[in-house]
């Protein structure tokens, strides 16, 4: 279990994380979504005890991370896949951590197999690794201590599509066995397919959180009409203005039935009327995380 309670972090005059609260339950995958610079990494570093919050508390498995006697055996952490000693061989990077946390060296080879780093890759120095290989090494490192919790910052970054599918399956299995997963991304589609819960952060604040279904329900209705201007005017008159989406439709914060009625009253023929679904979630994510500009 992971819990952030009112986390606030300032660097000088800038407040990078403000009053961030959320919970990740065992058996679930939580997607931590936000544009670059929104405060995801800072929040995760606070969760792992690497950064001190100016206010609030962070707990992992019921207490502060730093109170875990042998943290690597409880929590798997991947904060920056590119941060590994460039002059160390891939296998050695895992082996030295395994020795530290008291894990048998045999598990190192097993994990290298599982993440798809073969013997020749394992013998190479990390400086020769692509970002995708570093992610795989980082995921193996996070799994090394057989943890109950995974905290992964942008783990899909640099993975090719098969690699992303593999990682999704892995995290799904991990959660299905009762594990808790928090993974961050700045791309909605990376977490949309795997996360049970979403926490969306923009400019250091949580702007939305809940299950995918809950967020989708609030994402509104997608409506299209051959005469878009007339539709927009009709919605405007009904007091439910729409926002243009990328494909010529309008996304309206209202139920499909109400939107249909407004169109009827305006005498506009519709070509599409449905809950907005993923398109709406995309729009919501975009609106929520850039809305502060206005």
């Amino acid at each position: 279990m992971i819990e952030a309670k009112g986390l606030t972090k300032r660097f000088g005059a800038a407040t990078v994380v403000q009053d961030v609260s959320f919970r990740c339950e065992p058996g679930t995958v939580t997607g931590f979504l936000g544009p670059n610079g929104a405060g995801k990494t800072t929040t995760m570093r606070i969760l792992c005890g690497l950064s001190r919050p100016d206010a609030g508390r962070a707990e992992v498995l019921g207490g502060p991370y730093a109170h875990l006697p042998n943290p690597g055996r409880r929590v798997g952490v991947l904060l920056d896949a590119s941060a590994q000693h460039a002059g160390r061989r891939g296998r050695e990077a895992l082996a030295v951590s395994a020795q530290l946390m008291g894990v048998d060296q045999g598990r190192v080879d097993g994990l290298l197999d599982v993440v798809g780093l073969d013997r020749s890759a394992a013998r190479k120095r990390v400086r020769q690794y692509s970002l995708g290989m570093r992610q795989r090494l980082g995921i193996a490192h996070a799994l090394l201590g057989d943890p109950q919790v995974l905290i992964l910052d942008e783990p899909a970054n640099g993975l090719d599509p098969p690699g992303m599918r593999w990682m999704r399956g892995l995290l799904r299995d991990f959660a299905d066995r009762g594990g808790t997963v928090l993974l961050s991304s700045h791309l909605l589609y990376e977490v949309d397919a795997i996360a049970d819960e979403l926490v969306i952060i923009g400019r250091g604040r949580i702007v939305a959180k809940g299950s995918r279904a809950q967020l989708l329900a609030g994402a509104g209705t997608l409506v299209r009409a051959p005469d878009r201007a007339a539709l927009a005017a009709a919605l405007e008159r009904a007091g439910m203005p729409g926002r243009a989406d990328a494909e010529g439709g309008l996304i309206v914060s209202a139920e499909p039935e109400d939107v249909g009625r407004a169109a009827q009253q305006g005498g506009v023929a519709l070509s599409h009327l449905a809950p907005s679904g993923a398109a709406g979630l995309e729009q919501l994510f975009f609106d929520l995380t850039t809305g502060d500009d206005q």
Partner: protein, 260 residues
């Protein structure tokens, strides 16, 4: 799916899962980190090779008075005393330069224990290096057999001072690495600062202070003769400035650092 399941079903021994890694283990891990990177490996190998070369050269070309055991030990220790402090520097600074500090501190949140393990590891390294140098010096003297009086005479006190000198040198490296948290400046300044300091100390008016604070004066006698009480006081003062102060600054920085 089966491959994923395999990852999660890999066996792992339950031992140690709920126990803090011991200081012995942390120290062993730090010793491993000294040699498991490319830079660390070549640096150590260079020290060993240079020690063989200087001892070998003294055996072949040295004058008999340079081939006594006491002189041979001094010669054998030279490469280690110059290069091992760099190993000490890198042991700390590379965690920042190579950005492994978050990994290290996520596994061991008690940062003071990590610093202590690094200092302990550098002491162990010094002792191992000293043993190797001593063995090579004995072998060198035996082969050269200069046949002059006192060839094998050795003072235990002086040997102890040799160990002390090498060890404090490597720990000073750790201290510099910690104070700068960056490899290049720490290495450059650990060589340049003492030299610049010595140059300043050669100014006549500053000479009294230099006797207490300039390592080229106060620490050099450690490997030459048994120190008097005053000389020990001078050496200790110098070490407080060059070893303990940077170590204190470095510890303070590491404990408060927002590890990125």
């Amino acid at each position: 799916m089966s491959a994923n399941a395999a990852a999660l079903e890999l066996p792992v021994a339950a031992r140690d899962a709920g126990r803090r890694p011991s200081m012995v283990r942390l120290t062993t891990v730090e010793l491993r980190k000294m040699v498991d990177t490319r830079a660390g490996f070549w640096l150590q190998l260079t020290v060993v090779a240079l020690t063989f070369i200087v001892v070998g050269a003294t055996v072949i070309w040295g004058k008999p008075e340079d081939q006594t055991l006491a002189k041979m030990i001094g010669t054998a220790l030279a490469p280690a005393s110059i290069l091992l402090p760099v190993v000490g520097i890198l042991l700390v600074s590379s965690e920042w330069s190579q950005r492994t500090a978050p990994i290290t501190f996520a596994l061991v949140p008690q940062r003071l224990r990590v610093i202590a393990a690094k200092v302990a590891a550098s002491v162990v390294l010094s002792l191992v290096a000293f043993a190797l140098c001593l063995a090579l010096a004995v072998a060198g003297t035996a082969i050269a057999s200069p046949g002059i009086d006192g060839t094998w005479s050795l003072s235990a006190g002086l040997l102890g001072q040799d160990v002390f000198s090498l060890t404090t040198g490597v720990v000073t490296g750790v201290a510099f690495g910690a104070a700068f948290l960056s490899s290049a400046p720490a290495i450059v300044l650990s060589f340049v600062l003492p030299l610049g300091w010595a140059a300043i100390g050669s100014i006549h008016a500053l000479e009294p202070a230099a006797r207490w604070l300039d390592g080229t004066r106060s620490l050099a006698p450690l490997t030459e003769h048994l120190l008097s009480g005053t000389e020990w006081a001078r050496a200790a003062t110098t070490l407080a400035l060059w070893m303990l102060l940077p170590l204190a600054i470095g510890t303070w920085r590491i404990l408060r650092d927002e590890v990125a």
